[in-house]
Amino acid sequence: MKQLNDINYNQLLHEVEKPSRYTGSELNSVKKNWDEMNLNVLLAFPDIYEVAMSHLGFKILYHVINSQTKYWSQRVNMPWIDYEEKLMENNIPLSSLEEFRPLNEFDVIGFTLQYEMSYTNILRMLELGKVPVKTKDRSNQHPLVIAGGPCAFNPEPLNQFIDAFILGEGEEVTLEVLNVIEQGKKEGISKETLLENLVNVEGVYVPSLYKATDINGQFAGLNPVAEGIPTKINKRIVKDIDKSPFPQELVVPFMEIVHDRIMLEICRGCTRGCRFCQAGMLYRPVREKSMDVLVSQAEKLIRSTGYGEISLSSLSSADYSQINQLVEKLMEKHQQQNVGISLPSLRVDSFSIQLAEMVQQVRKTGLTFAPEAGTQRLRDVINKNVTEQNLINAVTEAFNSGWHKVKLYFMIGLPTETYKDLDGIVDLAFKVIKAYKDVHGKKGKLQVTVSTSSFVPKAHTPFQWLPQMSQKELASRQDYLKDKLRSKQITYNWHDTRISFIEAVFARGGRELSDVLYAAWEKGCKLDGWDNHFNYEKWMESFAEANVNPQKYAYGMWDVDAVLPWDHISSGVDKHYMQKEYKKAYKQLITEDCSFDKCSGCGICKNLGYDTKKVRRGDNA
């Protein structure tokens, strides 16, 4: 193993940018004795350190596993180009942060899947860690490679590389999975037998135990190869979020990371029901943590991390039923220690200036709103229930209270979008400027940032059957906006349409895509989510080599009754419900949020045995 005090390794670290990405020893990182462990686990995040360590789920799992005396979880992440080159040059395998242990020595490697464009990093990390990348080339002498996270809900593009997927929330199921692996290791069983044992754990999908069937040359789904293997795999959820394991300690990196603060999860799930949003479907139902639990967790985390900022995180934090009281309470308790509170997102409709003002007593940051679409018509299509008036009221109040920075997020290329909707985006941006002028008499210090991402149809959403808009059309819509949003007060940001295209292909891809991924990895594709490393030409060559037509996946308009590559995976939401939502979209019909209104019948509560009454928030509870 490499040691930090090894003079040559040290020299190597001197030559890379931000060496503390690779040196570990952060506050609250866990050290144990390797030889005394029943299982040595490596949590792997296929992106660079700053991103990995900003991910709350990754940190929670680390501590959940380490809370077991006989398991040790270490961490590893994708190295940046410079360090990767040094490793290759010196033939040093990629190794863990905790004790510089190469990947191939671990019992289990668990990847977090957050983003399709990090898939090549998974293969690259395995390669750098001297682990065969394909499942079929690994025996029980090699680490078992598992993966979880939102992208596991369309696992097939990774089927040749990942031994088993975990679906849904990991706090409980991860330990169940590790118990089975521990038992298997004790008994010295083969990898095949171990995988067969693993499918008995609810929420585990083992791709090698399923094969594709076809009827008259048409894909007819993936089915178990033998009896006793579930035909449909259900996701796992934590039913009592107050009791779910939440670490009292979180690793505190030395270097500045993307989210460099305590992330306190106040609520899980969001049932606003935006029809493009995968997280909204995957993390249902809504479960709020109680205030007492949050207050005590915050206190412990400040003590154990020393962070000066707490971010109240969830998919829609401002929806938390006691948000004002919670913020007040936390301020009152921790202002003395100079701890600031922040909210990651504010909804235009539930926006309360009083809340934002409380939060900004400590820090003054820009306000972020996500109207998503420029016209009411299109917002009704996507079920984003906010109005222009909501937004204007909110920013006016904000300007009155002294804010000068506003960020507006939109999505372009949404189903049924026309140039009129783009004009709507432009209109909104200029109305925000006007609102500022109305308050201050001049444009003054105002900064409006307009960001557009491009619509990517995602599995398990009501828009999963719909095509992405062509790259050409997306690019010309971006150009249109670039032209129309010309103003001193406005900064316009947009996404690379080629990256969004590949993302769409993998988001709706089937098993065939794993050949493409393999080819892309062989050609050296990596860090694809980073504009400057993304290599479109290599990707196109990889599609050609694997004989896969990418357009079929990104641009295909799919029949709602067709069998989908992820039909054997259940998010808990009924397919029928998504079909209904899809049809309602075209009629511009709204579906209310079940945490405030009545149950809209998505089926998840019934399917996962959860009480529909428990999803109600605030006064409706």
Partner: protein, 219 residues
């Protein structure tokens, strides 16, 4: 407001932590240890700390100093204990002195520092002798916009060959400053690991360690 000088260690684990990151780590330590540290006024409040010298990336040290101010009086030993309980691995307090009376800033007092450079080969003796016999050793120093030539020989007070590498005492501080890496480059040593043994202040012509200096100053 009672003020204290802290002597701290930057160990192996913290070798690659930048100066700015050390500062943030120390800020968080105050909060973890519930140390009643004084904050600056204004919108973006920061604890009042001032360092003797920033330590370069990749250098370990047993002789770093920082001044802090508390809002209430703590005993030296209590402060040292509580800080050590709260500091991350790789950082540790090895001494605390409460200041009596007003002292110049740490940064303005630094005059020299003693380093060890561990190398993976030994330097031929002649080379060292040769260096020490010269009156002028000119190197070029590049900063943001300009390049200038400086004579580093007078900035080197002492060099010794030890079995693991070199030990040297050089000028540091705001008036005259030699970076250890510059010296090693001039000696043509390429692979090295640096460790700072002690920081020195000056009383008349003599170099003394900071706590010693303080004793004398307060006499």
């Amino acid at each position: 407001m009672p003020k204290y000088w802290l002597k701290y260690v930057k160990g192996e684990e913290a070798r690659f932590i930048s100066h700015l990151d050390i500062l943030r780590a120390i800020e968080r330590t105050f909060r973890r240890g519930q140390i009643p540290v004084e904050y600056t006024k204004g919108f973006n409040k920061r604890p009042k700390v001032s360092f003797a010298t920033p330590l370069s990336l990749g250098v370990t040290s047993k002789g770093e100093y920082v001044e802090i101010a508390l809002t209430e009086e703590w005993s030296e030993i209590h402060l040292e204990d509580e800080l050590n309980k709260a500091l991350p691995i790789g950082l540790g307090i090895s001494g605390v002195r409460k200041l009596h009376g007003k002292m110049p800033t740490l940064g303005s007092l630094v005059k020299a520092a003693q380093y060890n450079a561990f190398t993976d080969f030994s330097l031929p003796k002649e080379k060292l002798v040769d260096f020490l016999q010269k009156r002028d050793v000119i190197i070029t120093r590049e900063s943001k916009r300009k390049t200038r030539e400086i004579n580093i020989r007078p900035l080197v007070y002492e060099i010794k060959q030890e079995n693991t590498g070199l030990s040297f005492l050089i000028a540091q501080g705001s008036e005259q400053n030699l970076r250890p890496a510059e010296l090693l480059l001039a000696l043509n040593v390429k692979n090295f690991q640096l460790h700072k043994k002690e920081t020195y202040f000056r009383i008349e012509e003599k170099l003394v360690a900071p706590f010693k200096w303080l004793e004398k100053a307060e006499m």
